[in-house]
Structures are given as structure tokens and as C-alpha cells.
């Protein structure tokens, strides 16, 4: 689960990680009062959407007067921000964060994430703050410093010093940097984060270290022990259909093609997308209905797939295991009664009692239900049906 910048900053504040003073607003009429309360002569207005690349897209703007703050808030609130990560439809800006502007001496990048190849968290830092880190990683990989933290010992000062020296941080700032990194690691572990990223972390002309930005992803599986963090979920930021699918125990991801897919198992669901592509078609979605594939989950699966108007055919690819194919076939037949399906449905059943399952489907004699002989045949038929 991802959370907004303003929510991340609230967490930072609770852990005494320094941030600039700021306020969240949803109505531009509150802009001037908020800016007065924050104080100073310069403010930054930031669109609160779940996406990187906000700055380049016009979602982060500097204001030098109260009226300018108001004007920017007015323009931003209710607009759709299109970044390099949102897709062409962009994201609706429902909240903006007004923050006190600061004069910057230097900028850094710092993040913590799990390094899966060594199975430990790593602190990733760079002296090139404020720019896209992916670009730095490609153009100047030597400018990115990584240090693994063994959770058995946790963050120690030597980790922080090593980073600071490699980043050439002025020696008077080293203790400050070490402290900053220590708190960041503490947040990462205590909150079960998948990722924490600050870009940039700045030293201000007043001599403070401040997190000017904050990004955090949380481990969904650990949310049960962080009820306070779970409440930060912003349903508007999530794909509504994907969230609805999740409530029914289905795992759905919308894609760009026109062949809808319904599969049991995540691996087979990915493989189904792949074989559709191999058969010169394109999958409209990833959908894992789980091991059971009951009438209820299959009905819901059809419903969800058909919300996507691009879908021209549906490939149901089920490998029956402990749940036998004859039972799955009955589930599919029941689902076709529950949901009005106008596109061709190609069903491939394999595994336990596959022949019996296929026979049940054929005997039902439903005009737009085609039984495939095998995986390859099913993919080809589904692609062909989508083209007709």
C-alpha cells in the first residue's frame, strides 16, 4: 500500500525526523490562512497524488506571495495531473499540501528498500538529490551508494558514517546525517515499510537537515499490526475494479489488450497473458480467481472482466487440481446464467477430471461457449475470436 506525501511527513514528524512546516487543504479558500499560519515569505504547493514525477508535471509549484499560493491551489485542486507514471488519463488532485519554502544549501537522495538478492534492507543514497534516481542509476551508477543493514544488528553509526564519507558530506554535518539515517531505518523497520524514499533530503541555509519530500510503501501483509497506518489508505488512489476484485479474493490487473483472461493461480495467469501474446493477441487483464474457482468467484470474474469495454473475447484457463474440473465446469455454467456475456468465451480445462468437465460444457450447448482442446488451442481460439 502506498500513502501520500503529507501522510508520510506526519509519520516523519512522529519519529522526530525534521520536515518543513506544512498543512494539507482540500479547498483553495483555505489556502491563504494556511500559508499565513505556516509563515515565511515563500511557499511550495504540492499536489497529493500517488505518483512520482510530480515536479516535472507541474504538480509542485513555488509561490512568493499569499495570492500566488491561493492561485496555485485554485488551479491545482480539481485538476488532473498527468505524470510519467500516471498514464494519459492522469490523476485527480483532491488535496494539496502547502509547505514553507526553504533556502537550500545542498540536496541528497536517501532511500531504504529490501534488496531481494541479499535478503536484507539496503540504504541507498546519492549526492545527486532532487533528480530522478533511475536516471542517475543509468548514467552515473558510481554516484549511488548502497549499504546493506543486517537486521540482526540493525542500524549502527558506522553504517551512517560510511555512507556520509562516501557521499562527501561536510564533516560537520556527518553526525546530523547519521542521525537522520538512523531514524529512517527505525521507521522502515517499525512500520513494516517496503520502501521509504526522500528525494531530496536537504541542508538548509539555516543549517538544518529537512525531508523535503517523502514517499512510503507499506507491506500489505503486515498491515494487520498497523491499524493506524491502514487507515491512511486512500481508496480514490486505487483502481476501483482492482480493489473490488480483491474484496472477493480475486487478483485483477487491467491491461491494454482485448482478450479477457480468467485463470486459477497467479503463475498460470501470467503464463496465460504470455501465450495470448505468443498467439499474436493481447491480454486485456491479469485475473487470478484462486485455487477454488467456484461458481461465485467465476461469476464475479466475468463481471469484472466485462467492465472493460475493450474485451472482445474471454479465455477461461483452468487447471483443475484438488478442485475437480467437473465441479469447475458446473461453476462456469452457473456463472454464465448469472452474468450476461455477449462475447465468445473459450474454456480450457485440464487436470483432474478434465474430460468430464469439457463434456459437461459441450452438452450445455451454449452458443458463445467454446471448449478448447488444450492450452495452445484455447489461446489461439480466444485471439481469433477477439479479432472477429
Amino acid at each position: 500500500m502506498n500513502i501520500h506525501e503529507y501522510q508520510v511527513k506526519k509519520i516523519f514528524k512522529e519519529y522526530n525526523l525534521p520536515i518543513p512546516k506544512g498543512t494539507i487543504i482540500t479547498n483553495y479558500h483555505d489556502a491563504i490562512n494556511s500559508a499565513i499560519e505556516i509563515g515565511g515569505k515563500m511557499w511550495v504547493v504540492k499536489a497529493q497524488i500517488h505518483s512520482g514525477g510530480r515536479g516535472l508535471a507541474g504538480g509542485v509549484k513555488l509561490a512568493h506571495s499569499l495570492s500566488e499560493v491561493e492561485q496555485i491551489c485554485k488551479e491545482m485542486l480539481g485538476s488532473r495531473l498527468i505524470t510519467n507514471q500516471t498514464g494519459p488519463e492522469g490523476k485527480l488532485v483532491e488535496k494539496v499540501y502547502i509547505e514553507r519554502g526553504v533556502k537550500i544549501l545542498y540536496e541528497l537522495y536517501i532511500a531504504i528498500a529490501l534488496d531481494r538478492s541479499i535478503e536484507m534492507p539496503v540504504i541507498i543514497a546519492s549526492g545527486e538529490g532532487g533528480v530522478e534516481i533511475e536516471n542517475t542509476a543509468e548514467s552515473n551508477p558510481e554516484k549511488i551508494i548502497k549499504i546493506a543493514i543486517d537486521p540482526t544488528i540493525g542500524f549502527q553509526d558506522f553504517h551512517g558514517r560510511e555512507l556520509a564519507f562516501k557521499l562527501n558530506i561536510p564533516k560537520d554535518d556527518v553526525p546530523r546525517f547519521v542521525n537522520f539515517a538512523r531514524i529512517l531505518y527505525k521507521i522502515y523497520m517499525q512500520d513494516d515499510a517496503e520502501l521509504i524514499e526522500i528525494n531530496p533530503l536537504v541542508k538548509t541555509k539555516n543549517g538544518n537537515y529537512l525531508a523535503l519530500d517523502g514517499k512510503m510503501g507499506l507491506d500489505d501483509s503486515a498491515l494487520y499490526r498497523h491499524k493506524d497506518l491502514e487507515e491512511l489508505r486512500d481508496r480514490h488512489e486505487e483502481n476501483l475494479v482492482e480493489s473490488e476484485a480483491k474484496e472477493y479474493g480475486l487478483s485483477y490487473v487491467k491491461l491494454e489488450g482485448n482478450v479477457g483472461c480468467m485463470v486459477n493461480g497467479a503463475g498460470l495467469a501470467m503464463a496465460t497473458m504470455d501465450i495470448i501474446s505468443y498467439s499474436k493477441g493481447q491480454a486485456a487483464n491479469f485475473l487470478d480467481v484462486g485455487g477454488g474457482a467456484s461458481a461465485k468467484t467465476v461469476s464475479k470474474g466475468f463481471e469484472i472482466i466485462l467492465r472493460d469495454k475493450n474485451v472482445k473475447s474471454i479465455f477461461v484457463n483452468i487447471f483443475g487440481g484438488i478442485v475437480r474440473c467437473d465441479r469447475i465446469a458446473n461453476g462456469i455454467l452457473e456463472a454464465t446464467k448469472n452474468v450476461d456475456i455477449k462475447v465468445p468465451v473459450i474454456v480450457r480445462l485440464d487436470g483432474t477430471n478434465a474430460q468430464l468437465g469439457s463434456k459437461l460444457l459441450k452438452e450445455a450447448n451454449i452458443s458463445n461457449l467454446i471448449v478448447a482442446a488444450n492450452l495452445e488451442d484455447g489461446a489461439q481460439k480466444a485471439v481469433l475470436a477477439a479479432k472477429e
Binding site: 507514471q85 529490501l114 531481494r116 538478492s117 535478503e119 536484507m120 533511475e134 542509476a137 543509468e138 537486521p151 540482526t152 523497520m189 513494516d192 517496503e194 507491506d219 500489505d220 501483509s221 503486515a222 494487520y224 499490526r225 487478483s251 490487473v253 491491461l255 485463470v263 486459477n264 493461480g265 497467479a266 503463475g267 498460470l268 495467469a269 501470467m270 503464463a271 496465460t272 497473458m273 504470455d274 501465450i275 495470448i276 501474446s277 505468443y278 493481447q282 491480454a283 491479469f286 487470478d288 485455487g291 487447471f319 483443475g320 487440481g321 484438488i322 485440464d350 487436470g351 483432474t352 488444450n374 492450452l375 495452445e376 489461446a379
Partner: protein, 289 residues
């Protein structure tokens, strides 16, 4: 012969009396697996499926000499269950539980490693040595006995490929689901080495997917250490970046973890990489000729 488990392996089940634990223990017993008891705290002294229940893994091991534990406990108890098994000198924990917090698995795996216990999973279907022993949730009838070693991140693809192996007239020595979480226990390379040393396995198939770099580590390992033929399929060739595809670990982050990189690395290591999931069985047959 086979790897990891055989007909003599003694197994206990943690989370024995729950719905999943009960159903799958029954299925395993039917297959001939030597389940010798289970652990459910506070139910020690009772019996379940005509087998003894123990309060702790230590007691269960002492009384039954079990070396493998099959774990079905809910996600919030999984780290505790794994570490209890390791403390009790269990040799292999097969963790079926899905949605375990990553931090917990990191800690539990670290502890298990230090105590000489191997882990399969979490979020995996388990391990089956055809016609001998099934420790997991896979449908037994799919697996025909033979000489192919199967290692897969995905449950249903394990079944799919084992079925394809049977269709081309071959069979499976041992099939292992390793799970698709960000941190897992035994990985491709650990198991490839076991298969390399198993006289009853002639060739191996590995089923990987997007996310992480275990397949790339495996590629390097195969190049240096594996002589038997290896066939590979990587799921998610058409998956978009930054989207989690069902499994917690199946995500292309930034520029790393794509199917393309993995397929290229494996191909360079001399592995036969199959593009279409329908061709895996045929490719294995071909690798033996």
C-alpha cells in the same frame, strides 16, 4: 532416490487441527506420506486423524523423530512457527501459509539458516516425490513417477508442467514449489544442485517469473555447476512494470526483474528457454534425446 523427501520421511504438521491443516493432512496420508503427528498449542494429548497432537514442536520431535514440518498456521504466527521448528531441530519446514509479512520471513529464515533448518516457501504448494511422499497441497494424481526434477515459483504452473511431462510420456522424480514471495527459503540453485546429485533425475525444469533475481543467480550457477539438461519458462513476459501480478514478489521494480533479462541470462547459461507455456513438456522430452 529423489531429493529432499522420500517414503521414509517423518512429518509433523503445525496448524494440524485447522480446516486447511486437516484437509491437506488427510490428502497427504492417503498418498502414503508418513505424517506422524501434529502441533496445536493447548490441544496436546488429544488425537486428530488418529494421530497424536503435541503442544510444542520439541515434544513432537522427541516423541516421533520427525524431521520435516508442514506449516499451515495463519500469517501472523508463521515466523514463530518456523523458528519453533528450527529450535526443535526440524531439518525442513514446508511453509504453505500465504501473506506472511516480509520482515518476519527475513528474520525466521535467518534464524533457520543458523540452526541448520531448510525452508520451502512461504506461499508455496510444497514438495512431492512421486509415488512416495507428498508434503503440501498439490493434487497428487497429476504427478507420474519419472526422472524429471521440477522447481517452480508458481503452484498451478507446477501442476501444469508436471501434467505436460506426463503427456509426453515422462514423469517427475521430485516436484517442488518454492513460492513467489520476495524472500523465500530454498531457491532454484539450492535445488538444482540436489537434482544434479540425484541419480534418479535426468533433467530439470525451472519455472520462474518476474521480480527479484533468483533466476539470474540460477543462470550463473547452472553455467558453473550443472551438467544435466535444464529447461526453463519465465512467466510474466507480457507483464507491465511496477504492477504486482498476484504473488507478493512478482513485480518488475524499475528496470530490474523483467522476464526478458531472466530469459537472456538463462539462455546464455545453456538453458533451453521456452517462450510458450504450452511447449514446456515437449522441450523437456527434446532435452533428453
Amino acid at each position: 532416490m529423489s531429493i529432499l523427501v522420500d517414503k521414509n520421511t517423518k512429518v509433523i504438521v503445525q496448524g494440524f487441527t485447522g480446516r486447511e491443516g486437516t484437509f491437506h493432512s488427510e490428502q497427504c496420508l492417503k498418498y502414503g506420506t508418513q505424517i506422524v503427528g501434529g502441533v496445536t498449542p493447548n490441544k496436546g494429548g488429544d488425537t486428530h486423524l488418529d494421530l497424536p497432537i503435541f503442544n510444542t514442536v520439541k515434544e513432537a520431535v522427541k516423541e516421533t523423530q520427525a524431521t520435516v514440518s508442514l506449516i499451515f498456521v495463519p500469517p501472523r504466527f508463521v515466523a514463530d512457527a518456523i523458528m519453533e521448528a528450527a529450535t526443535a531441530k526440524i531439518k525442513l519446514a514446508v511453509v504453505i501459509t500465504e501473506n506472511a509479512p516480509v520482515k518476519d520471513i527475513q528474520m525466521a529464515k535467518d534464524y533457520a539458516t543458523k540452526n541448520g533448518m531448510q525452508i520451502l516457501g512461504p506461499n508455496c504448494p510444497g514438495v512431492i516425490t512421486a509415488d512416495e511422499c507428498k508434503i503440501g497441497i498439490m493434487p497428487a494424481n497429476i504427478f507420474k513417477k519419472g526422472s524429471i526434477g521440477v522447481i517452480s515459483k508458481s503452484g498451478t504452473l507446477t501442476y501444469e508442467v508436471s501434467h505436460q511431462i506426463a503427456q509426453v510420456g515422462l514423469g517427475v522424480s521430485t516436484a517442488i514449489g518454492i513460492g513467489g514471495d520476495p524472500i523465500i527459503g530454498l531457491s532454484f540453485k539450492d535445488l538444482l544442485l540436489m537434482f544434479e546429485n540425484d541419480k534418479d533425475t535426468e533433467a530439470m525444469v525451472i519455472i520462474g517469473e518476474i521480480g527479484g533475481d533468483l533466476e539470474i543467480q540460477a543462470a550463473q550457477y547452472i553455467k558453473d555447476n550443472i551438467k544435466k539438461p535444464v529447461v526453463a519458462f519465465i512467466a510474466g513476459q507480457t507483464a507491465p512494470k511496477g504492477k504486482r501480478m498476484g504473488h507478493a514478489g512478482a513485480i518488475i521494480s524499475g528496470s530490474s526483474g523483467s522476464a526478458k533479462q531472466k530469459m537472456e541470462a538463462l539462455e546464455k547459461a545453456g538453458v533451453k528457454v521456452v517462450v510458450s507455456p504450452a511447449d514446456i513438456g515437449k522441450a523437456i522430452k527434446h532435452s533428453l534425446s
